[in-house]
């Protein structure tokens, strides 16, 4: 379909015009470019770094047999020159094919679909907890500046970001499972228990859909401890940042004006302080979710939780390039989506940005 000269320019306007929708479209476009860039980077790095995926995935005896090695290489396209490997990868990617995992021998996409929901389950709970407690503690800390609640909260939040996640997981597991018996063991369900019919992959949600309340309670009890451990670092970060943000805003002139009008303190906080504070807080919240990825590798390891973290670990150790790329893509996509959401929220919260756009 040939567009006339003028019409062609007006199509471009969808992207370049002012206003909300063009803005979102622009951001989505840059995000896609970003993801492609990332595949390039991860590909390059894993190629540049010495290491033989073949050796990592075949046993010793198999490795010494040249025929098996050749077959392995052929199957996974490792015998091709590097640029060709990359091109073929991108080609398949655009069709939605993420390649075959070198270690599990299954399509990476299948692997991801299986492991991702487990991580989502604890991540969502962790996000929820860290936002609520982080904001709450941060605000209390700022408002009771230098008094006892503030001192306590500051020490706790600093400790929270200083704890090695794997050790916290281990200690929590020991205390709550071994000593107190309050928490169930490792894994997602009791040994031998049937998972609910897979709709989303999140056992809790799936159980609820089936109105299977006993499975729901079981699944929830298993995910609680890992989720809490995962949340600790994020709570620490969000608390600290919220405190700093709120304190800074409390020193602003417009807060003084609000107080000078005789408004009660809770209204000053709610209406005058929180809105500007939220701007910088959502940025930090977005960044702290990235820390959940690192945390989940360690937490899932300790709790034998079959999620993306475990998969990433196995892929890394096995130098399973498609697997590594697959995990990277997922996490990067989540990260970029978070950034997008943060940007949109920015414009919703700050009317100045909205109007000037």
């Amino acid at each position: 379909m040939k567009l006339k000269h003028r019409e062609r320019f007006s199509v471009l306007k969808i992207f370049t015009g002012g206003g909300f929708i063009p803005f979102i479209l622009r951001r989505i476009l840059t995000s896609i470019v970003l993801i492609f860039g990332m595949t390039f980077i991860s590909f390059s790095i894993t190629q540049l770094v010495p290491g033989d995926p073949v050796a990592a995935n075949l046993g010793q005896s198999a490795y010494s047999d040249p025929e098996i090695v050749a077959a392995f290489e052929k199957e996974f396209g490792l015998d091709q020159p590097v640029p060709i490997q990359y091109l073929r990868y991108i080609q398949k990617l655009s069709k939605g094919d993420l390649g075959i995992s070198l270690s599990s021998k299954r399509p990476v996409l299948t692997d991801l679909k299986e492991y991702f929901p487990a991580t989502m389950e604890i991540a969502l709970v962790a996000v929820f907890l860290s936002l609520i407690f982080g904001l709450l503690f941060g605000i209390i800390s700022a408002v009771t500046r230098d008094r006892l609640p503030d001192q306590l909260i500051r020490v706790f939040s600093l400790t929270g970001v200083s704890m090695p996640t794997f050790w916290t997981a281990l200690t929590a597991f020991y205390i709550f499972f071994f000593v107190l018996g309050w928490a169930p063991g490792t894994g997602r369900l009791d040994p031998g228990a049937e998972p609910p019919k897979k709709q989303t992959g999140l056992f809790t949600i799936d159980a609820l859909i089936e109105a299977d309340f006993s499975t729901f309670r079981q699944a929830f009890s298993y995910l609680l401890l890992p989720a809490i451990v995962l949340a600790i670092y994020a709570v620490g970060i969000i608390t600290r940042f919220t405190r700093a943000s709120v304190l800074e805003i409390l020193g602003n002139d417009y807060v003084r004006s609000a107080r000078a009008k005789g408004l009660p303190e809770y209204i000053v906080i709610k209406r005058h302080v929180l809105r500007p504070a939220l701007l910088s807080i959502i940025t930090v919240a977005g960044v702290s979710f990235a820390s959940l990825m690192a945390g989940s590798v360690l937490v899932e390891n300790v709790f034998s939780w079959p999620g993306l973290g475990q998969y990433a670990y196995r892929a890394a150790v096995g130098l399973d390039l498609p697997g590594i790329m697959g995990v990277s893509m997922v996490v990067a996509t989540v990260y970029i989506t978070m950034n997008l959401i943060v940007d949109v929220l920015y414009r919703v919260i700050d009317p100045q940005l909205r109007k000037s756009n």
Binding site: A260, K261, G262
Partner: protein, 344 residues
């Protein structure tokens, strides 16, 4: 001669009038990075209903802290002592809850920079009406009506669309008018304006000053104007209080103080104003710099920069001298011969 008689006449009238605000021996201590420091020392002044008092001085003289102490809005870890009697109540002893009852409702404040003192993310309507509704329990619609009237009073064009706009959409002068409207929303008895025109263009200043004068006439509003600009003082105020290093150095009726200042510091300030005729003379400036908080000189704080200082100025606190027309200075030397009634 006639002038002096007029002043004495006014002074006699004053004796029978109840003061709206009486400040006595106000001392304000602040917490700085290097410890506690006095920002205001033993300050005393009065204000009656319908009067405009100007508090003048360089940066750091303690004028803003004085204003904030009336509202109980001293910065973190700041403490005020002495006596502040407003409308027959002793404010020094107020807790935050009691302060909140009079803030906005009986005493209101307009700050220096309207860009930062208005909230960038709330509409004009919200900022004008929220304290109205809190103090007086009016409905949203009723508050909106009053807000429109307020915007009219401060001469904002197109008040209806102004209500739905954000402060960033207005010019500096307009924003200050909105800030003034915000301060007057609950019809306070006292308005404190901290450098209301400093952040504005000279051409816009006159409008603001005219507005304040009008409000004083129409609503018997008492105003304290804090400024370092002598032009503003002469245009607007009835009486002036000149501050230096946290203490008063001179006070009295504006015309008298500006025309015949009796304190070396006031003289210095007035003579430092450039002559509009510009006859090529050097600009006169007071040598030196005002002292930093916590590092005030002993005795009379001005003595290091004063041309008339003698040894005693360093040691002894300055003497109070007051004339029959209530012009008052704090000076041990009295170089310009203020004729004093016997005080002490």
């Amino acid at each position: 001669m006639h002038f002096v008689m007029h002043l004495i006449h006014v002074q006699q009238k004053r004796c029978g009038i109840k003061m709206l605000l009486t400040v006595k021996d106000l001392t304000i201590k602040l917490m700085t990075a290097s410890g506690s420091a006095e920002a205001v020392r033993n300050l005393s002044f009065e204000l009656e209903q319908g009067e405009i008092l100007g508090i003048a001085g360089e940066s750091g003289s303690g004028k803003t802290m004085t204003a904030l102490s009336i509202l109980g809005l001293l910065p973190y870890k700041g403490k005020a002592s002495g006596s502040i009697i407003f409308n027959n109540r002793e404010l020094i002893k107020f807790n935050q809850k009691q302060y909140r009852e009079i803030r906005g409702k009986e005493v209101a404040m307009v700050f220096q920079d309207p860009m930062t003192s208005l909230h960038p993310m709330l509409t004009v309507q919200v900022q004008l009406t929220e304290h109205m509704r809190h103090h007086n329990s009016i409905s949203k619609a009723g508050a909106r009506e009053q807000a429109l009237k307020l915007l009219d009073t401060v001469k904002i064009p197109d008040p209806v669309s102004a209500l739905n706009s954000y402060p960033s959409q207005f010019s500096g002068g307009m924003r200050q008018r909105i800030a003034i409207a915000m301060a007057l929303a609950c019809e306070p008895k006292l308005l404190i304006a901290d450098e209301p025109t400093t952040a504005l263009d000279v051409t816009v200043q006159a409008g603001i000053l005219k507005l304040l004068d009008q409000l004083r006439k129409e609503k018997k509003l008492s105003v304290i104007v804090i400024t370092h600009d002598l032009g503003v003082l002469s245009a607007l105020t009835d009486r002036i209080l000149i501050m230096y290093a946290g203490s008063e150095v001179e006070s009295g009726f504006t015309k008298e103080v500006l025309q015949s200042a009796k304190h070396p510091y006031t003289r210095g300030l007035i003579e430092a104003l450039p002559d509009s005729e510009g006859d090529g003379k050097h600009l006169l400036a007071i040598s030196g710099m005002p002292p930093e908080l916590g590092k005030f000189p002993t005795g009379c704080a001005f003595h290091p920069r004063c041309n008339f200082a003698k040894n005693q100025c360093k040691e002894v606190a300055s003497k109070v001298l007051e004339s029959a027309s209530k012009q008052r200075i704090f000076c041990a030397i009295n170089p310009f011969s203020l004729i004093s009634k016997e005080i002490n």
